[in-house]
């Protein structure tokens, strides 16, 4: 099938479930895209307010405490505590639907020591609510940055260690469908 035929079939059968390769959600707001770009070279960068030192997440255009627009991305420690975790058995998105066929998908919320609560993929199923964790950012196969929580004892200084966790989650590969378009 050449590219033209493939695109015509995709348009005709516009259903995510028929795609050969499903990827995680690509959509981000403009500030969300900026967050992805800024996080590419570092383990974790968050917005810091130059005016009141508040650390802001999710990314916004104004500091939610002092309303100043003096927000600067700084490399930030991802140390925190896992507040809650949950195993998803159902998803609205084709990528996760395919991943869910082999095992539930683990997500959690982490209270970072620097302040904000972040929603994360859980990178290792041994971590439980109340455990100290470290959160890092990484691109997924949609080339957008997502946050992942790992056990605090793990050495994540090299990017290889972080990629390892992303790979074990299957976030660095599209979810395939045989015979899909």
């Amino acid at each position: 099938m050449n590219l033209g035929e493939k695109m015509r079939r995709r348009l005709k059968l516009n259903r995510p479930s028929l795609r050969a390769r499903a990827r995680p959600p690509k959509q981000r707001s403009p500030v969300g895209r900026q967050f992805s770009v800024v996080n590419l070279p570092v383990s974790l960068a968050l917005q810091h307010c130059r005016s009141c030192a508040h650390v802001q997440y999710p990314p916004t255009e104004l500091c939610s405490i002092c309303l100043d627009d003096a927000l600067t991305y700084r490399e930030t420690s991802g140390r925190g505590v896992l507040l809650a975790r949950s195993a998803l058995h159902h998803s609205l998105w084709e990528f996760f639907k395919r991943r869910l066929r082999s095992a539930p998908w683990l997500i959690g919320s982490v209270k970072l020591d620097v302040g904000p609560v972040v929603i994360v993929h859980i990178g290792c199923d041994t971590i439980k609510a109340g455990d100290p964790v470290q959160v890092f950012s990484h691109t997924d196969v949609s080339q957008e940055v997502v946050l992942v929580a790992a056990p605090s004892a793990l050495d994540l200084t090299g990017s290889a260690a972080r990629l390892n966790i992303i790979s074990s989650l299957g976030l660095d590969q599209p979810a395939l469908r045989k015979g899909g378009i």
């Binding site: 707001s29 969300g32 058995h89 929603i119 609510a129």
Partner: protein, 394 residues
């Protein structure tokens, strides 16, 4: 705060609940408006105030609807705040009528349910959810509430059996309310506990079924209601507070705690006087949280409270303490018709207080408490509202 003296709430309408529909939101809103006009026996031109709530109007808004529906309102409001939109519309409209800015306000919530529309709403709910929650498993509201539920269970020791009390009694109520989409099915504890897992502790019967439908009521002066010979209910007190307790790492309480004592004081009645309670039941843990924050029990005692309370409309349960709760089955059994779900508690309380509920009528209902909650912008619902309503005869 000034009271809502002289205001009448009339003609509760619930319309067209269906799992999927080719009709758009304008159809559900307009049809509800038509039923309101018929029920009140007035001309369309007599409606000079229009408050509307909907998630699925797309590029349209309340103002587009005036042309669609041929209305010429001199007062208009669009309250797109999900689970509190009914109470917010009611508060705003009551003030408008009280101040003479409008004579009769139609408050309508309505949403369509097109194929795959829920997926689209969940994927585009807010900029924070797009950036920071939807990419994590794309579970939609189930994912956010599974974390809240899990945390609540670990912190206060609530179990799935406790949540089942809420869901089972609501289903019993729905079995007596014809429009409920799941009202033709019974739900047993075994069905509940063995249901398909959805997200962490949240299983199938903890989730609402997205659907289409419309809900609405009219607000006018008591004099006008009597003149039209319409049975009505009164608004004793109402309050709202949004994004409260924002420093709590995980939500297990919300804005009600700030105003509930004051609300009861202004209403002149307390939780024990309520003939019925309608909470926003998008998930049972949220109903439990409301029972605590609305003063029916202390924080953390919600599980024990529901175990000791019969929440059926007809007091037919075995528990000694009686509190009819979500007497038409709530969203868990009726279906969640988008913004209309935020009106369901108001319309159901009105039916109970003016005595037009049918098979699920509470005998001698005097006071009703309605509570609203909604809008998971990121990790928690931001909005809260509550209102105390009373029958006209009191």
């Amino acid at each position: 705060m000034k009271g809502y003296e002289g205001i009448a709430l009339v003609c509760p309408v619930s319309l067209g609940y269906v799992k999927q529909s080719a009709h758009g939101a304008a159809w559900f809103i307009g049809s509800t408006l038509r039923e309101l006009i018929n029920a009140a026996g007035i001309k369309k031109s007599e409606i000079d105030g229009f408050a509307v709530s909907s998630f699925s109007l797309g590029v349209d808004s309340a103002i587009s609807l005036t042309q669609h529906l041929g209305l010429t309102p001199r007062w208009i409001e669009q309250a797109n705040m999900g689970g509190v939109s009914g109470i917010i519309a009611m508060r705003r409209a009551a003030r408008a009528v009280q101040c003479g800015e409008a004579n009769i306000v139609a408050c309508v919530g309505g949403d369509g349910a097109a194929h795959r529309s829920f997926e689209a709403t969940a994927a585009n709910f807010s900029s924070w959810s797009i950036d920071a929650s939807f990419p994590y498993g794309a579970g939609g509201p189930n994912a956010a509430f599974s974390l809240i539920t899990q945390h609540y269970m670990e912190k206060y020791g609530a179990t799935r059996e406790d949540f089942a009390r809420i869901c089972l009694d609501q289903r019993y109520n729905a079995n007596h309310y014809a429009p409920a989409l799941l009202g033709h099915k019974t739900l047993t504890l075994d069905n509940y506990l063995n249901a398909r897992p959805i997200a962490g502790p949240v299983h199938l019967f903890d989730c609402v079924m997205p659907c289409a439908g419309g809900e609405g009521f009219l607000i006018m002066t008591e004099d006008r209601a009597r003149q039209l010979e319409l049975p009505y209910a009164r608004l004793l007190a109402a309050d709202e507070l949004h994004n409260a307790h924002s420093d709590d790492p995980v939500q297990d309480r919300s804005g009600w705690t700030h105003y509930i004592d004051d609300l009861y004081q202004r209403a002149g009645v307390g939780p024990n006087d309520m003939s019925c309670l309608q909470t926003y039941d998008d998930y049972p843990v949220i109903s439990m949280m409301q029972m605590e924050d609305l003063g029916f029990c202390a924080k953390g005692e919600g599980a024990q409270f529901v175990q000791n309370t019969d929440m059926r409309f007809d007091h037919s349960g075995s528990a000694a303490h009686k509190l009819p709760h979500n007497t038409c089955g709530g969203q868990l059994s009726c279906g969640q018709a988008g913004s209309a779900a935020g009106y369901l508690g108001v319309t159901e309380t009105l039916r109970q207080l003016i005595g037009t509920a049918k098979d699920n009528q509470i005998p001698k209902a005097q006071y009703g408490l309605v509570s609203g909650y909604g809008m998971v912008n990121y990790d928690r619902g931001l909005c809260t509202a509550a209102a105390v309503l009373a029958g006209a005869a009191i």
